[in-house]
Symmetry: C2
Subunit: 145 residues, 2 copies
DNA sequence: TAAATAAAAGATAAAAAAGTCTTTTATTAT
DNA sequence: ATAATAAAAGACTTTTTTATCTTTTATTTA
């Protein structure tokens, strides 16, 4: 596996996709999202339900319904998406899985990991979804398999 | 989850433990290792079989047998352990799981991830198991749950 | 208000990861 | 040679992750 779980990869890609498609108050349906980011539709539905409950994305049912993001949700850092799905295990805790690992009783990788965690956290927290969105709008970046 | 799989966490901790205990040509048995790193014994046995096949650790059967490391295996970078268990997914490939992601067709996190991957890889490749071992010998670092 | 639409929710299923237990094989010491 | 030891190998179980399919609920439009 990579750094994120597969579920989290889908989550991030879908959030980018939704942001990209709904800037002007439009909404986008699950089928279109799943197609746009090459993910299994029903599995993604579960993920988006979750993100919706947690306020990461917005949704409405019925005709003309779908998922969307407003100014507030667009401002959120990507870290919020990652934390909603994978939790904070990537940012806190011991790299070797030791609960007792601490500054005073460090594991052999403690200090090395601190740097890496900080890098990851900084990058996920310092840029909003909207920021990433800009490159997508410019057609510079891609979300499909 | 953290950065590594649980299997990989056990692998790294056991390698450190074995290195620590077998510097002077001694060997150490699976029971003692499992106890020393707080891991399930039989599960760890599987992991060590694997590491042994791949030449990351050495082993002999029978009385006075056990796992050990020699000068050559101690020189190996930690990256070898990680790669043996978790593969190279942490070092290569797209952070969002996109196979088509590349320099010319990057995903939205492509450049951000490049930096992080390099950090992780550098830290894992630049220090040998023996290096980490030194702090353990000094009693500075800890491997138990 | 009825039909259509689209997400939410629920129930399963398949695959992978993590963990346990038993049997076999290699090695050593008696 | 035989018994004891310890890893290797095999079979199996449990848990978590990933994925699929069906039913329900909310909303809109005609």
């Amino acid at each position: 596996m990579g750094i994120f779980s597969k579920t989290c990869e889908y989550a991030i890609r879908s959030v980018f996709f939704i942001a990209h498609r709904t800037e002007n108050g439009n909404k986008v349906g699950i089928k279109e999202i799943a197609l746009g980011i090459s993910s299994p539709e029903h599995f993604l539905a579960k993920i988006l339900q979750d993100l919706s409950k947690k306020g990461i994305v917005k949704s409405t049912k019925g005709p003309n319904g779908g998922f969307y993001m407003d100014e507030e949700t667009l401002q959120r850092p990507l870290a919020d998406v990652v934390e909603a799905i994978d939790g904070n295990g990537l940012f806190v805790g011991c790299g070797l899985g030791l609960v007792s690992c601490s500054e005073s009783k460090p594991c052999p990788l403690h200090n090395e990991f601190k740097v890496i965690r900080e890098n990851i956290y900084k990058m996920l927290v310092s840029t909003s979804i909207k920021n990433f969105n800009e490159d997508l709008n410019l057609g510079i970046t891609n979300l499909k398999k």
